[in-house]
Symmetry: C2
Subunit: 360 residues, 2 copies
């Protein structure tokens, strides 16, 4: 059976002031009327019903996520007591799935990307699931055709093409994973035509990833097994807290991917956007005649190319501006030059240094 593991632990300082520690990007309504996480769940449709979902996140976010997804069984929420990167989280999910479904196929995906149409995404997951069936070593990834020399994504270099069924997306052996490149390298990748952006979506048999972790991260694997053995026991919370904290954090890429031998990349047949910044909203939401992307109550005079967001009961008025970002929340308002958006990270760091915790 196909199970989905949705990674919802990200913190997302880039969407300050809407995003906060207690309300990260995946819990925001950035791209539409649903939150990113709600859309991720809905996107799976009937392919993966909520009974076969696990949402991995920080313990502190569990109540907020449960509130956004009332249809989700409580057991579907995997609250991590601390941040230990992606490998422990994925390994724990795999071991949990194997308890009830030893042949479980597992699709791991972020909760804060925009993907459409849903049907095409589901079909791509079906294709991936078929590709790992009876392939005990295989890992399937999804590659996005790059449209510009992005320095903010990891890349996947493709090798030999696989034969695929009619109607399926092109698929290739993966030659190598590449880390976020510098500008010059990114341009080479773009020109070569053999590189994809790594969408961070993986499909494998739960047993495959469990074996890989057991082989390459034996200490972590033992710790995860201790945790899983305690599920349902009165001391589960204590065991989880103690063992998870003791794990050495490492990403699944370093822990498993880079040494894996049978990795396949499917050229994503769906539209994909990582919604990495306020600016990216201009791609996802319709703009008005002046190129402004608006959410909320707005009046603009001689304003172009701007992104303005606020609640329905607070009027934002702009006058004589170009390429600015205005985001209003009840306790804080950001006004930023669109071309300086990267500095939002500096900003949240500065607030931390100054002890302005109530805004983080």
């Amino acid at each position: 059976m196909l199970h989905a593991v949705i990674m919802a632990g990200g913190s997302g300082t880039r969407f300050w002031p809407e995003s906060r520690n207690a309300r990260p990007k995946q819990l925001l309504r950035l791209a539409g009327d649903s939150t990113m996480l709600q859309a991720t769940v809905a996107r799976l449709g009937r392919l993966v019903p909520v009974e076969r979902m696990l949402i991995a996140t920080n313990q502190s976010l569990v109540p907020a996520i449960a509130a956004q997804l009332p249809e989700l069984p409580k057991s579907a929420l995997l609250g991590e007591p601390c941040k230990r990167d992606t490998a422990p989280c994925i390994g724990l999910a795999a071991l949990l799935l194997l308890r009830s479904d030893p042949d479980a196929t597992m699709a791991v995906m972020p909760s804060d990307h925009v993907i459409s149409p849903d049907e095409v995404f589901q079909q791509a997951l079906r294709q991936a699931a078929a590709l790992v069936d009876g392939q005990p070593e295989r890992i399937v990834t999804f590659g996005i055709r790059p449209t510009y020399p992005a320095e903010s994504f990891g890349y996947i270099e493709r090798g030999a093409p696989l034969e695929v069924a009619a109607g399926d997306a092109p698929a290739f052996q993966v030659k190598r994973f590449r880390e976020k490149p510098q500008a010059e390298i990114a341009r080479e990748y773009l020109l070569s035509g053999n590189f994809y952006w790594n969408a961070g979506i993986f499909v494998w048999k739960a047993a495959t990833i469990a074996r890989a972790l057991a082989a390459r991260q034996p200490e972590m694997f033992a710790q995860l097994e201790t945790i899983v053995a305690a599920v349902g026991q009165p001391n589960y919370a204590d065991v989880l807290a103690r063992e998870f904290a003791a794990i050495k954090g490492i990403s699944i890429d370093y822990a498993v991917m880079e040494q894996a031998t049978d990795v396949v990349v499917i050229e994503a047949p769906f539209r994909w956007d990582d919604v990495g910044s306020w600016q990216s909203l201009a791609r996802l939401r319709s703009s008005d005649a002046d190129g402004n992307t608006i959410a909320g109550k707005f009046l603009g005079l001689n304003t172009q190319g701007s992104i303005v967001r606020g609640p329905k009961d607070h009027l934002i008025v702009t006058l004589g501006l170009k390429d600015v970002i205005v985001v209003h929340t009840p306790d804080a308002t950001l006004v930023a030059n669109k071309h300086d958006e990267e500095a939002i990270r500096q900003l949240t760091k500065l607030m931390e240094e100054r002890g302005m915790k109530e805004y983080l």
Copy 2:
């Protein structure tokens, strides 16, 4: 005795969103911890105690003004039922003063300018009062030495100098009042050295202005007399509403000043600022090292030459901006290019057209 008539009927759309119909400029804390009106009253010090003050305003503003000036006797608040420009208001104030003090000297002044130091202002009023003593035709005005070719002020052209006492400010006969000039003319005025900005502060005997109105605006004068005759009567409110509404609105400049023969201008010995725009706050409040003028809770990253205002409990963060105005109020936020500030009037007009009355 010297009485003060403070004109507090202005609406001040230029300070939107802080200024609203119900909270015009003179009721705002723009230049310091007091509102402009409170500062105007305080500035008179012991020279004019509250018992000798009249504050002329719209009836709708009376409660807000009374709340800002609890020390003021209720009878000091002259609430006009409708806007009829300055002449009816000044005439009514003069007739009211004459009832109890036939020799009253009357200083008329706006409530929304910044003037300092208080002592120098009081001394200048004393000088003006002395100049009208025993001069039944004389009107004293105050002229501000222009510092740039302003097109937004009326000008006073000075004539022959008057002899003044040691320590008094220079005073001149007024040759002519000049309306707001166009740029080229304003430059000529500036260069000639014989022109002052009209500060809108006048000193005269109440009897002088009453006589002038009786002679030049007999119909209005009769209407004002009808109103004053009803003071203290049960039907006063009705008489005021009916008679005042029937008056033909006209400014004191057109009604009296321009035909007056004995007008004197005192070169203002005090600092004066009309606080005509958000930008003017940069002149009145101290700026930080980046040239930002801040009121409220603010964090700026790479932000220069900007004016940021908000309440103490709402954080405003700016990033990569130059010369912007950000003003946050509970229900509306303005973000404007400093160099486009004049368009704020367009803005309030636009809101009116669109029926956005809750923001006006």
